[in-house]
């Protein structure tokens, strides 16, 4: 009975969400499903991942541990997340996920959200309340997202209290006919979208986009292969979805597995004369899909494990061509299209070449922190950037020249932000490191708590 009442309540939020649009965001923190947290401590959760059975670093699973801001600022404070006694991890909490968990958190750090990535329960959404150290409690409902998003889902917190997952699939075989004269066919495909109510733990709406790049681009072999990082605009009425685009050589032929001869696809070409693409759909109805194209970059916006687009203080959306490009693009809040006059280039701002943004976070008033790597240079670097002035200041860390930091950056998930402080756990894969605390107002970086790593293990997020 209780469940039924809840369902009715939930269904009315679905209706409300669809009819009232952005107004529904006021329903956040419904006390019915979020148990109150005992004290007002702002816990900072640190997550770290360990290797899988085959020895691949960071691929085995994720552990979490919550510390206070005081602990975080104290270089003598040690977090030993990967400590083992006998064969058991004894510090922190194991987030459910066979592989690296895809963790997001509420703004106040009180809740973690995760969708398990592969494993026996791949695609299952879990919500945890944070009560300090290893005390995490599963709250709300587990959600089955796999049927829509697959068991290795792409999802992020699209706005406070709202998660969105996307998945590209149902691509056609890129050929017709038979050997040896196979004929190229555009693979089309579909993007599935799921809106996740993070407060009530429910999938409240889903939608589909039949991918359509237009006859002209499609005839040239351009096609979508991935959808990623769905983020809402300030008004919460438009959803922006990053797209991965590849190009087939339409005059080529099929590609095959060298051993089995099974057809694996169609020959591709790296020739690209097409800007960054983003799908825009109405939220929460998930209708009226439209593609917008940047004239400022030709690199895709794909987050893989991290969030790559943020709504700025000015209400515009800032999108990095992460995780392989140096650009930050702007989508105007007025037109919901790319602002073709705006372009931030990390290379220009730092007067270097070959930088690529691996993770970043918009802080406030156009200031953001960026984790980046540089082609031909070992290690991973931190910079504070000003999106308005288009300047960047590199901030030095002890481990920046360590090759293994690049591995960590490749899997980095989240940069923590509390007040004026940015929290960056930096541990090269398999090596100890520290939390670095960046004060964006004073533009200073200082070393905080010591983070102990272990072989094949490293820290990859602060929340």
């Amino acid at each position: 009975m209780k469940k039924n009442l809840f369902r009715i309540a939930l269904f009315s939020t679905v209706i409300a969400a669809l009819t009232l649009g952005s107004c529904s965001s006021d329903d956040n923190n419904d006390p019915g499903t979020n148990p109150p947290v005992a004290d007002g401590t702002r816990w900072i959760t640190l997550t770290g991942s360990f290797p899988d059975a085959a020895g691949t670093a960071g691929n085995g699973g994720t552990r979490a541990y919550a510390i206070t801001q005081e602990n975080a600022a104290n270089p003598d404070y040690v977090v030993d997340l990967f400590k083992m006694e006998s064969e058991k991890y004894v510090v922190g909490f194991a987030l459910k996920s066979s592989r690296t968990a895809r963790v997001q958190a509420s703004e106040d750090g009180k809740f973690l959200y995760n969708i398990q990535y592969t494993g026996t329960e791949g695609g299952v959404f879990n919500k945890y309340s944070v009560s300090g150290q290893g005390k995490y409690t599963e709250v709300g409902y587990e959600l089955n997202t796999a049927t829509i998003l697959g068991t290795s889902p792409r999802w992020v917190k699209a706005a406070e209290g709202i998660g969105v997952g996307v998945s590209f699939g149902e691509a056609l075989d890129p050929y017709t006919g038979s050997a040896p004269n196979y004929v190229w066919r555009h693979p089309k495909g579909k993007i599935k979208i799921a809106n996740i109510d993070l407060n009530n733990t429910a999938i409240t709406n889903t939608g589909n986009i039949d991918v359509d790049l237009g006859a002209e681009l499609e005839a040239q072999g351009y096609h979508v292969w991935r959808a990623d990082v769905p983020v809402l605009n300030q008004a919460k009425d438009k959803l922006y979805i990053g797209l991965g685009v590849r190009r087939h050589n339409v005059n080529g032929t099929v590609t095959t597995n060298a051993n089995t001869g099974a057809i694996s696809g169609w020959q591709t070409t790296n020739e690209r004369n097409l800007g960054t693409l983003t799908y825009v759909v109405d939220y929460p109805s998930l209708r009226n899909a439209k593609i917008i194209t940047s004239e400022k970059s030709m690199i895709d916006n794909l987050g893989y494990r991290t969030l790559t687009q943020y709504v700025g203080t000015d209400g515009n959306l800032y999108q990095a061509t992460a995780t392989s490009g140096p650009d930050i693009l702007r989508i105007s809040k007025a037109t919901n299209d790319y602002d073709q006059t705006y372009h931030f280039n990390l290379n220009t701002a730092l007067s270097i070449t070959g930088s690529s943004i691996k993770a970043w976070r918009y802080i406030k008033d156009g200031v953001a922190v960026v984790l980046y790597t540089v082609t031909g240079t070992n290690g991973g670097y931190v910079a504070l950037i000003d999106l308005n002035a288009k300047t960047a200041t590199k901030l030095a860390t002890d481990s920046e020249a360590d090759t293994a930091l690049a591995t960590t950056f490749g899997q980095f998930q989240n940069i923590g932000l509390v007040g004026d402080n940015v929290y960056l756990p930096l541990t090269p894969s398999g090596k100890d490191g520290n939390i670095y605390i960046v004060n964006w107002k004073t533009k200073t970086i200082k070393k905080g708590a010591t983070l102990k790593a272990a072989s094949g293990s490293f820290y990859l997020g602060a929340y």
């Binding site: 059975a53 085995g60 051993n259 209708r287």
Partner: protein
């Protein structure tokens, strides 16, 4: 389907002459004729001068770490061959659900391709999915030999973890016919028959046997992985569900015609073995999503030639050949595009604000829509030549040849296979062994060596474009792998009935066909990068054979093992690279990968106590540590998990079996046997680092049974209750196995019918 029909027709055709023959032959032979010791492949290796010892004892004291499972009792009960194996020492049968589901055998921590499963010394896979330990009833089986670690040379193959060798009934000394039928829980019907006939004058012999299984496997599940998903996609756990889309049907028959105990042959048989299977696949590697309409049909037509002769050409020379030609087919279909709940109904979801039926992500139940048809042709032959140099010294030479050709057709998109490589795989294994019995026959030693040659002939096709014109270029590629292995066993008879046994082996094994190329019907992806495994194994055991103390009889066996595996092949849930196309990444499939080094140390033990031939109890235990012994991780840093238990493997099992016989209950001359079995599997973790959520808890099951033999000795009725306390049991990835089941069986034996 067409396999089923053709097989049925063949069955009728083969059965007809049998019945007509019965009428013609009026002469009633007194079937008391002793056919001396019938020969089987296993036996030819053994010294025929050993007298008065049972086959079980002879093999068990040969030096190998081996146990023999006799099927006589079980064949009268409602037991499957897999259940029988699971109760024996050191054997763990891990099954994905009920009857007919995918099975992995684990012998003291060794599993997968390291374990050979043989039927009369020929890999059982040769007979296809439709004739294996899932569906061969114990009634067709003479005995099962389970070798741990080192194998005798007549079973050499690419196996180092041990082998299960099923010896089908060979005896034709008595003209008998038997038939049985059983019905029980989950709408399970099983029946089998067997006929043996031998013409005393000519030695003409016929054996026929077959079985039929039908089950819905409609058992209830209620564990953590048994779920209901509502329209908000919220998961309700511990949902009481009844399994559906889980029907399993199997029919098989084996017909052997030949001569026994003639001048020119001890046994000469031509055999037809036909089988057909229909298996519904209820879910993937986990139970998280139920499948509807995914099914597999398999069938196999197998012809065999068996010949063996002692004193072949020369005195003390034994010759034995077993050649098999198999043509098997496997058909897989998965085209239903709605997502289902465990209540059997279609799931719903809000799509653009409207509640609609939920479609699956890729159009099929497991992934994309699939219809494939795979034909496999296998020739598998084993020949053995043994020579008794002088009493107690014997040499033998074995050769095994196996050729495999596999063709897969994609019926939804035939053009996708236009460029498929045509592979022919040839395996040649030559082995030699020398057995000696010295020190007044108290010391038995056996040394053996084997040479393996694997050749793959690929005809690869490629599209080449010249001046805008495409053409297919074919290229022959041959790859050859060779390796040499050796081993030895020793057994010492301390005092009567007490033996010390030891064995060692150093050998390589190549990845199997299935590990390399995958098996879509079993949700296994290909991995062509697999390397050969290398093994160095040691066994040391002690065996005390049944000794009499008045009415009490006790037997004891213990074996310790130490196994080192390099590049161990292990199944792994698929982890498609992040940057690859998303549709490739799906947990519901596995593939096989190499682990650097693992080491297993442990022991198994068994105690048997018999009282007055009325009470028969046995207890067995197996415990081992299967440890990750890789020195370094991918970056060359020391491996943190060195010495840790390999996850997701049960490593502590115990079984207890009890039988008590009552005489003259209800009727004089009757025999009532009662049975009790308890099984224990210790807890283990599925994820590294032992997080609480990944625990597979300790499992204990209890089974009860009784069988009643009527005074005529022709009719036996038995009743079995399995898992009487309806315990929640799992083998793999939280796939719940059947709860309580009740089965009733009738057996009828007609002996001396001619």
């Amino acid at each position: 389907m067409r396999n089923l029909y053709s097989f049925l027709i063949l069955l009728i055709l083969m059965a007809l002459p049998l019945f007509s023959q019965e009428k013609q032959t009026k002469e009633k032979t007194a079937a008391t004729e002793k056919t001396k010791e019938e020969k089987s492949e296993a036996e030819t290796l053994e010294n025929i001068t050993v007298q008065g010892t049972s086959k079980k004892k002879k093999i068990e004291t040969s030096g190998f770490a081996v146990s023999i499972i006799e099927t006589k009792e079980a064949s009268l009960r409602n037991l499957t061959t897999n259940e029988l194996l699971d109760r024996s020492v050191g054997v763990r049968v891990r099954q994905n659900g009920g009857i007919g589901s995918n099975v992995v055998y684990n012998l003291n921590g060794m599993s997968g391709s390291t374990i050979g499963v043989f039927l009369n010394g020929i890999e059982v896979s040769t007979y296809g999915q439709s004739f294996n330990l899932n569906n061969i009833p114990p009634a067709m089986i003479e005995r099962i030999e389970v070798y741990k670690g080192v194998l005798p040379s007549h079973l050499t193959g690419d196996y180092v973890g041990g082998a299960i060798n099923v010896i089908l009934k060979k005896d034709v000394s008595q003209n008998t016919a038997n038939v049985s039928a059983s019905y029980g829980s989950f709408n399970t019907f099983q029946s089998d028959f067997g006929v043996m006939y031998r013409d005393k004058k000519t030695g003409f012999s016929f054996r026929g046997s077959g079985s039929y299984i039908y089950t819905d496997n409609s058992y209830e599940t209620w564990g953590h992985s048994s779920t209901y998903v509502n329209e908000f996609q919220q998961i309700i756990r511990n949902y009481k569900a009844k399994r559906f889309n889980n029907t399993y049907k199997n029919i098989n028959g084996r017909f052997e015609v030949g001569f026994t105990n003639t001048k020119w042959a001890d046994q000469f048989f031509i055999v037809y073995n036909g089988s057909s299977n229909y298996t519904e696949i209820p879910h993937g590697i986990t139970m998280s999503v139920p499948y509807v309409g995914r099914f597999n049909e398999a069938g196999a037509n197998v012809f065999e030639l068996n010949y063996n002769k002692r004193n072949f050409l020369a005195k003390n020379l034994t010759f034995n050949v077993n050649a098999v030609r198999s043509e098997r087919n496997s058909y897989l279909q998965d085209t239903v595009d709605y997502a289902y709940n465990w209540d059997g109904k279609i799931r719903h979801i809000y799509e653009n604000g409207v509640l609609v039926k939920l479609k699956t992500k890729e159009g099929g139940q497991q992934g994309k829509k699939v219809i494939t048809d795979t034909d496999t042709k296998i020739t598998n032959a084993r020949a053995n030549l043994g020579y008794l140099i002088t009493d107690g010294h014997r040499v033998s030479l074995n050769h095994k040849f196996e050729a495999t050709n596999r063709k897969e057709e994609d019926l939804l998109n035939p053009a996708s296979k236009d460029l498929a490589t045509d592979s022919n795989i040839y395996k040649n294994i030559t082995s030699m062994s020398y057995e000696a019995e010295t020190f007044n026959k108290r010391l038995k030693t056996n040394i053996s060596g084997k040479y393996t040659n694997n050749r793959v002939n690929d005809l690869r096709k490629k599209i080449v474009t010249i001046e805008g014109v495409n053409s297919i270029v074919e290229e022959n590629v041959t790859t050859i792998d060779r390796n040499f292995g050796f081993g030895g066993t020793v057994s010492y008879n301390l005092i009567p009935s007490m033996f010390i046994t030891g064995s060692t082996e150093n050998s390589y094994i190549m990845p199997s066909d299935m590990q390399l190329f995958g098996a879509p019907e079993q949700n296994i992806l290909p991995n062509l990068q697999l390397q050969a495994e290398k093994y160095i194994n040691y066994n040391l055991g002690f065996r005390w054979n049944p000794s009499d103390f008045g009415k009490h009889k006790i037997a004891f066996y213990v074996n310790a093992f130490w196994r080192n595996a390099y590049n161990k092949i292990t199944p792994q849930t698929v982890v498609a690279a992040d940057i690859e196309n998303e549709s490739d990444a799906d947990i519901q499939v596995t593939k096989f990968v190499n682990l650097q080094k693992t080491q297993a140390k442990g022991f198994e033990a068994e105690v048997i106590y018999i009282y007055n031939n009325r009470l028969n109890t046995s207890f067995n235990i197996s415990k081992f540590n299967n440890l990750d012994k890789s020195d370094s991780d991918e970056n060359g840093a020391p491996n943190r998990y060195y010495g840790h238990q390999v996850s997701n493997e049960p490593f502590f099992t115990m079984n207890m079996n009890m039988q008590y016989n009552f005489l003259n209950v209800f009727q004089k001359e009757s025999l009532l046997s009662t049975y009790y079995n308890a099984g224990y599997v210790g807890e283990y973790f599925t994820v590294r680092g032992e997080p609480a959520y990944s625990i597979t808890p300790t499992q204990i099951t209890h089974d009860l049974g009784a069988s009643y033999r009527f005074p005529s000795k022709k009719l036996v009725a038995s009743l079995d209750v399995k898992n009487i306390f309806n315990a929640e049991v799992y083998d793999n990835f939280q796939i719940q196995k059947p709860g309580r089941g009740i089965y009733f069986k009738l057996n009828y034996t007609l002996s001396k019918f001619l």
